[in-house]
Each structure stands twice: as structure tokens, then as C-alpha cells.
């Protein structure tokens, strides 16, 4: 379980790591929109180049991206099979018996695969270079303007940061309980149905018990330190936009503008 790569922070020292989380989140949103512009292969090529450049600057490895992509492969194969049977437009490529594969089925699947790859690249650039805590600070700040229409920006950010904070703990806890129960002869990989159900039960019950215990401890600890939702709070870490953050934002906006032009005005 320690090898989940999607959405994991990688502590490295790079210009991207140092950027303001707000700039990174906004830039990611802009590029995500850009990915969904029907800008054709040239457009995807440009976005791919930009994303690759970001990955290199952030000193992330491409194998890391590939690992994050792997779980999606099954879905893509599944999608291709469906497309192959349903999409009957474009040029017929080949025929086996009564089944003919058309070019659009291949292109549609490829389009989605490329978009997915780009999305994984872009989101990984954000999550791998931004500490979860900085990310929530960024989200909180970006949600601030919506407070006027009663969006509880701080509470949402607090919820996200608590949830994120508990993920590694719960993964560790699960591993610990698996090991403890394996020591008592639980076999998670083999066995009859009833034994398997028992095995899973022997994990879930302790996991729930400890999760509730942790939640209660945390709630008490927060209350003991005077936390009250909705109160005005100051911050230890104040975010500040710098030159490189504006460059990133400008770059992302330019990319989106370029895609819009490629898609609609050419």
C-alpha cells in the first residue's frame, strides 16, 4: 500500500515546489480547461510539451507519472472495446467475420487516452509539488471570494486538510492491523468464502474503532486549543505571490487562449 503514487507529495527542492499554491491551483484549472478544448493533435502536442517541461523543472521522474497512469490502463482497454463495437463512423480499418473496426473507434479512444494522460501529468505536477497543508491554504484563499454567497471557505479547507492528514495514518493503521491479524493466522489471499469474510471483518472492525478513536482525540485536542469554527483566525503562514507565480499563471492563461484560438478561430 505504500506505493500509491497518485496524489502523493514528493519532497524535492525545485522552483515549482516553491511556488505559491494558489498560483499552482489556478494554473492547473486553466490547463485542465485547455485540455478539454477540441484543439486537435497540435494542441495536445503543445500541452504535452508544456506539461513535460513543468515535470522536468519540478524534477519529477516520468516513471512516477507512468505509475500514476497504470491504474487507468484497464479503463482505457475497456473503453476501447466499447468504442470498437459502438462507433461505426470513419474509415473501416479491417474486418473479422461480421465485425468491422472503424477508424473513429481508434481515434476516439486515443483522444481520451491522451486527455487522461495530460490530466494525470498536470494534476501530478500540482499534488507532487505542493504540501497538503499548503494546498488547503491555497484552496481556502481561492474560496474566500465565495464567502459572500455563504460558502464556508475556512471550514471546507479545514475538512480537506483533516481528511488529507488522516490518509497516511489510516494507510499505516491498515497495514499494522493486516500484519497483526496475519500473525493470528488470517490469510487474506487464500481461503474459503466464509474465511475470507471473517478475514475482512477482522480488518474493518479494528480500523473503524481506531478511526473513531482518532477522530475523537483530534476533536478534543482542537477544542482544548480553543478552536471554534467561524471565528476570525490569523495564520502562521501567509501566502505571497512572487514573480515566478505570475509567470506560471500567465503561461497557463496563454496556453488556454492558444487552445481556444486553435479550436474555434483558426
Amino acid at each position: 500500500m505504500g506505493n500509491i503514487t497518485l496524489g502523493r507529495y514528493i519532497p524535492l527542492d525545485s522552483p515549482i515546489h516553491k511556488m505559491d499554491p494558489r498560483a499552482k491551483i489556478l494554473a492547473m484549472l486553466l490547463v485542465l480547461v485547455a485540455i478539454f478544448m477540441p484543439a486537435g493533435w497540435i494542441g495536445y502536442g503543445i500541452i504535452f510539451a508544456a506539461a513535460s517541461l513543468t515535470i522536468i523543472i519540478a524534477r519529477l521522474s516520468f516513471t512516477f507519472i507512468w505509475k500514476a497512469m497504470k491504474p487507468m490502463l484497464f479503463m482505457l482497454v475497456f473503453l476501447f472495446v466499447i468504442n470498437a463495437f459502438l462507433l461505426k463512423t470513419g474509415d473501416p480499418l479491417f474486418t473479422v467475420g461480421s465485425f468491422t473496426l472503424y477508424s473513429d473507434a481508434v481515434f476516439q479512444t486515443l483522444y481520451i487516452a491522451v486527455r487522461l494522460l495530460l490530466m494525470v501529468m498536470i494534476t501530478t505536477c500540482l499534488t507532487a509539488t505542493t504540501k497538503p497543508l499548503d494546498m488547503t491554504l491555497g484552496i481556502e484563499d481561492l474560496l474566500k471570494p465565495f464567502q459572500k454567497i455563504h460558502v464556508p471557505a475556512h471550514e471546507i479547507a479545514m475538512l480537506i486538510s483533516i481528511a488529507l492528514r488522516f490518509i497516511p495514518d489510516l494507510i499505516d493503521e491498515t497495514e499494522r492491523i493486516i500484519k497483526a491479524q496475519e500473525s493470528r493466522g488470517v490469510d487474506l489471499k487464500e481461503g474459503k468464502i466464509m474465511e475470507r469474510i471473517m478475514a475482512i471483518l477482522s480488518l474493518i472492525v479494528p480500523l473503524f474503532v481506531s478511526a473513531f478513536q482518532r477522530a475523537e482525540d483530534l476533536a478534543n485536542a482542537m477544542e482544548a486549543r480553543g478552536y471554534a469554527p467561524g471565528e476570525q483566525r490569523t495564520r502562521y503562514k501567509v501566502l505571497k505571490m512572487e514573480g515566478r507565480d505570475y509567470i506560471l499563471l500567465f503561461g497557463a492563461a496563454a496556453l488556454l487562449a492558444g487552445m481556444v484560438w486553435l479550436a474555434y478561430f483558426r
Binding site: G2, K179, S183, R184, G185, D187, P206
Partner: protein
């Protein structure tokens, strides 16, 4: 030797920036029928070491002989159940593994997994609960409503009920009150002396090591720094201090007495004997 390590290495999160070498070239023989203490600072590899003993973690390099099995680096061994029955591992804070509706059922869970019949498992569970000092009135209670110390005992009974020949305990007394700690250590001592079980205890408490253990393993930075018998280990308090280990009270007391002109024999290892020794010398000098 029931368990021996030959040049064992283990790395966590290999191939990621989190990569961490927890064990480095560990060579170690664990003696049968003894109580061995594993000590060392946090992060020295104690917990990683004990998880190799019942093949929860498999070595990245080297090989481990556990009873009649050999586990080599790179192997993907199957049917580890038989092994895990013989090497009972009690984790740190084992009370988190309790899940059944009743104490009796939870303790019987282990033996049932290892193929004992319902009846046999219950019988063994009752014996184990008796050993840890929980009476019949606890059998039908939910393990989740017991106190921390009682939960700990139920969890340990859960391992004892499997009747392992080697018992491995990772900080079994952490968080217990002094009486609970005392009772727990006496239990392990009894299991070793009366039932002949090989016991391995990870601990930070030098008083426990001094009073109950036969052998001492000091882990440092992923390797075994010292492996010797207890008396040799504590005979050089200065060496202990160099490893950031505070010698037990009795040893420190002896040191102070010697420094102040008392004659204290090296074979004095109980408080009573030390008190007699001092009394005699005080009387003599009036």
C-alpha cells in the same frame, strides 16, 4: 538455533524518495529457551527485525532460518501459516487488533485460523485467558468495553492461545501501569521457565531487562551492535552510557557505593543482597 539471521538487509519504500534502509547486514542467532531483550533507540530497526521473525516482512538480502524453514531474499514463500503458528508475534499496542463480539471468541480466533476445532479453540482460549489473569466473568464481555490493560491482556491471550513455541513481543508493557507491567513481565518469565517457550521482548525498560531477561541484543542504526548475556552487558555501566542506555537502578547504586569506598561484589544482583552487603560493612566500621 530456532532462529538465525544471515546477512539480512531490509529497505522500506525501495525506489522512491522515501527509501529507507531499516536493516543492514544483520547476523544473529536467537537462543532456544531463553528470554532475549532487544533494545535500541527509536528507528534503530527493532520493530523491523521482529517482523522478520514470523515472515511478515521478507528479507531484501541475506537469509533467515526460522525453525525448519529457510527464507531467502527474493523468495516468495507460500504457506506461512504453519510458521506463524510457531512464532507468535505480539505487536505494539496489540489491543487494536481486537474485533470479535466477545473476549472468548476473540482469543479463540487465532487457534481457529490455524485449524483447531471450535471446541479445541475455546478450550485453548480459556487456558490462555487464565494465564493472563482474566477470570470467567470476562468471557462473554465485549473486548471493546474493557480497560486498556485488560484489552492488552486479551490481545496477548489471543497469541498465547495459538500455543507458539517462540513468543515475540514488541514493547508489550508500553502504556501499562507499574502493577500491570510487573504482572505482564512475570507472565513472560513463567511462560519461559514453566512452559519452556523461547521469548523475545523489545523494550526500553532496563529494569525489566535486568530482572527478567537472559540475553541482550542492542540494535543501532539498522545493525546489531551487541549481542551478549545480561550479566556481561550490565557489568560495564560506562559502555551502556556510551550507547545512551541508562543502567538499572541497582547497577547505578553499586557504582555509587564503590565510588564512595564500599566493597561490592560483582555477583550481587538483587536489592536484598546489596542491602545485606552494605549492612555488614556499616556494622564493621561502626
Amino acid at each position: 538455533m530456532p532462529i538465525s539471521f544471515e546477512h539480512v538487509g531490509y529497505v522500506y519504500s525501495k525506489g522512491t524518495p522515501y527509501e529507507y534502509q531499516a536493516l543492514k547486514d544483520v547476523c544473529l542467532d536467537i537462543e532456544e529457551g531463553k528470554i532475549t531483550a532487544v533494545i535500541g533507540q527509536t528507528g534503530s530497526g527493532k520493530s523491523t527485525l521482529v517482523q522478520h521473525l514470523n515472515a511478515l516482512l521478507l528479507p531484501e538480502s541475506g537469509e533467515i532460518h526460522i525453525l525448519d524453514r529457510v527464507i531467502k531474499a527474493g523468495d516468495k514463500p507460500k504457506h506461512l501459516k504453519a510458521l506463524r503458528k510457531e512464532v507468535g508475534l505480539v505487536f505494539q499496542f496489540p489491543e487494536y487488533q481486537l474485533f470479535e463480539e466477545t473476549v472468548l471468541k476473540d482469543v479463540a480466533f487465532g487457534p481457529k485460523n490455524f485449524g483447531a476445532s471450535e471446541e479445541e479453540a475455546k478450550k485453548r482460549a480459556k487456558q490462555a485467558l487464565k494465564l493472563v489473569g482474566l477470570s470467567e466473568e470476562y468471557y462473554e464481555r465485549s473486548p471493546l468495553e474493557l480497560s486498556g490493560g485488560q484489552k492488552r491482556r486479551v490481545a496477548i491471550a489471543g497469541i498465547l492461545a495459538m500455543d507458539p513455541s517462540i513468543l515475540v513481543l514488541d514493547e508489550p508493557t508500553a502504556g501499562l501501569d507499574p502493577q500491570g507491567t510487573e504482572a505482564m513481565m512475570k507472565l513472560f518469565y513463567e511462560l519461559n521457565h514453566t512452559y519452556g517457550k523461547t521469548v523475545l521482548i523489545v523494550t526500553h525498560d532496563m529494569e525489566q531487562v535486568f530482572r527478567y531477561c537472559d540475553r541482550v541484543i542492542v540494535m543501532e542504526d539498522g545493525g546489531v551492535r551487541i549481542h551478549t548475556d545480561k550479566d556481561t552487558f550490565f557489568s560495564d555501566p560506562e559502555a551502556c552510557r556510551k550507547m545512551n542506555i541508562l543502567p538499572p537502578v541497582l547497577i547505578r547504586m553499586k557504582e555509587l557505593l564503590k565510588a564512595n569506598g564500599f566493597e561490592v561484589a560483582d555477583d550481587i544482583i538483587t536489592e536484598d543482597a546489596l542491602a545485606d552487603c552494605i549492612a555488614r560493612q556499616v556494622k564493621k566500621h561502626g
